[in-house]
Symmetry: C2
Subunit: 412 residues, 2 copies
């Protein structure tokens, strides 16, 4: 039998009714002849409740105990889903991470999956079980302790199972009906994509289109797992949602696939840094150790042995960045005149595999922004993405103008 992996997130299993609705979807796939592996999250709200208890009990908690507590939410859903399927006369059973086993590293609370031996579940499929319901987000360490993969880890669990079982597809059921060209709340013309390449999805995900966890997309790309994102709240056909796949499978596509954005950015500039080999390493090591997630980095040319260094980071990390730089200056490891923070910026990005073979995308993007009178503060580019920092008040305008200019409301 071909294997299908179906993953249901927290909102899709938030109540017993929703679990029943999800189980019906599973039943549809079973009736098509699939052996199905269902990956479930905790009922929405449950994980937050458990995390809250752990934090209140022990602010600097032992991550091994955090994992033991927090993983229990998924176990509850897995059992309830198995029972629901059994009520529909579908042979099903639940599996906790250690039972499969989902072997992970010992990096508690952010463990990585190392191996999922398919033998146990496959032998049950051989005995007539039609659905294996697996608690997502969890595994077991080499020492036999429970691990978790970090928030959103159930997506990663789903893709890892799809890879290990050579599943025909991995369907991610969530509360949105697919991946859009941009956030429909920002542009009414946003259009759902039928297909998107892994690389594009990665850029969109890490830029704030929080449909799929980044790690799960990386994993799907590496193991060529066909990933489909679709809504658990609508009747679904085989063509519903958005298929995230290898670019070869996308015959026709726009040069630009989507416009991503991130609202709460800050631009920070270290003015007149004493330039020397290793200075960039010194600065960004200090920021990293200070807990600052640096995104864009720009270095101006050096004059008379001094340079300016600019970076962007989440706006709520500017205080940490200032502290890290002040301490580095006091310690004598970095010499600079001042640190300027611009906390009123947003990032807008144009993403598309097609850029690789099409020139002029950057020029067109800058022209569109210029036509709207929007000043560009920082630019960075990658092979399939161009990002700019602009004043936050222009963010919606920029997204809408770019969406129009690249005709994203029209299919390729």
């Amino acid at each position: 039998m071909p294997v299908l992996v179906m993953k249901f997130g927290g909102t899709s299993v938030a109540t017993l009714d929703r679990i029943r609705r999800a189980a019906k979807r599973v039943g549809v796939e079973v009736s098509k002849g699939y052996d199905v592996i269902v990956i479930v999250s905790a009922m929405s709200g449950k994980t937050n409740e458990l995390v809250g208890w752990v934090n209140e009990t022990s602010p600097l908690y032992d991550a091994r105990e955090y994992d033991a507590v927090v993983s229990s939410g998924e176990n509850v859903t897995a059992g309830l889903m198995a029972l629901t399927l059994q009520e529909m006369d579908i042979p099903a059973r639940s599996w906790q991470g250690w039972q499969v086993p989902v072997k992970t590293t010992a990096a508690h609370s952010s463990a990585r999956i190392e191996e999922i031996p398919p033998a146990n579940i496959m032998s049950k499929f051989g005995e007539g079980m039609k659905v294996a319901v697996v608690a997502g987000f969890q595994g077991v360490s080499p020492e036999g302790r429970i691990t978790t993969l970090g928030r959103g880890g159930s997506d990663t669990t789903a893709v890892a199972f799809a890879a290990a079982f050579e599943a025909e597809r991995c369907d991610i059921y969530t509360d949105v009906d697919g991946v859009y060209t941009t956030d429909p709340r920002v542009s009414a013309k946003a259009r759902k994509l039928d297909k998107i390449a892994f690389e594009e999805m990665l850029e969109l995900a890490s830029l704030g289109a929080k449909v799929l966890q980044t790690r799960s997309v990386e994993l799907a790309m590496r193991y060529k797992v066909k990933l489909r994102v679709l809504s658990s709240f609508e009747e679904q056909s085989d063509e519903a949602g958005t298929l995230v796949c290898d670019e070869e499978e996308i015959m026709e596509s726009n040069v630009v696939s989507g416009i991503a954005f991130s609202r709460d950015e800050a631009k920070m500039t270290l003015v007149s840094v004493a330039d020397r080999p290793g200075i960039a390493a010194a600065i960004f090591t200090a920021l990293s150790e200070g807990g600052v997630n640096v995104d864009m980095i720009v270095q101006n040319i050096s004059e008379e042995g001094r340079t300016d260094m600019t970076w962007s980071c989440p706006v709520d990390q500017t205080k940490r960045a200032e502290k890290a730089m002040d301490e580095a200056k006091a310690a004598g490891t970095i010499n600079f005149n001042e640190l300027i923070a611009d906390t009123d910026v947003a990032k807008v990005s144009v993403v598309g595999i097609g850029m690789r073979s099409h020139t002029g995308v950057a020029a067109k993007m800058f022209q569109v922004l210029s036509n709207e009178g929007i000043n560009i503060k920082v630019i960075t580019t990658s092979e399939i993405k161009i990002s700019v920092l602009i004043d936050r008040k222009y963010m919606e305008l920029a997204v809408q103008a770019l969406h129009d200019a690249f005709e994203l409301d029209k299919a390729a």
Copy 2:
């Protein structure tokens, strides 16, 4: 290091504050030099919530999935307790049933513990761990699936650990401060017992003094585990609560230790049964298969080949009993004239190891009831217990009069 087992029930770990209070008690024992095994229940209310979900999902649920879901409550408490102890700088870690492992039979939802190999936990004690926090009520089947021991099973877990680790004592922390000569709500003169014999505790427990689960007392008796019941809501000394122990350890005791009672009983009489060898087996097999828990049984002498058969059972099972008897009559397996149900009776029992060596207890009991004008409907006796059925309205009066007559308000 000597090992101590401490068990905290649901009300003793109902909130993070109560978990902290329980952890402080654990800290006191650690400071005395014990290696401590803490057995925890789910936070009160949690198990009922989970059971409710299972029942709503699947009324005739797969007990394996029931166990997978319901066991999660204890896992949460175990992790939170370990974190709380760590916050107090006490080296602690949590253990789920499968991690110890607590090996049980595969009788899901009512599994029996078969073996608890102490090696894993002992090796951690050897490495400096002071407290092993174990999720109660659960284990793992030979097939590697999660099992539960049935409601109240955490007491059994605690005693089984005390036996396996040859613990010096097993302290059961609960919401009462010990075992009383009778229910203080019925007699204001009820006195807390310092010590009680296993056999007496068994009679009191099964008669409704719901302090300890019956199975846990049986297990403690078999393995000679010293069991102490005490309150988690009071400051405790080494002599607090009630010690349940071998009768040899009780130097002085009253002939009668306590007065137990059960309010909601029914007395049923099968009138003019055709008597023949095997008729009792036929009747009580039919009742058992009909889901009736028969307690007392009395058979009158047989006259002219017919006899009357009387039994008692919980009052809410009389309909089931009538159905079972009607069906047996229709099937021709039992022949009788009529079935009379008296649903207004209560059971009162006098319990005491001392009865073995003292005569006259029964006579005194009957005289006391007679003096109060209370008619006795059924009598049964065992080696250490005399039980009577009386009209329910006299129950409190009977308990108080017997408590006075046997001078249970005074220590031996």
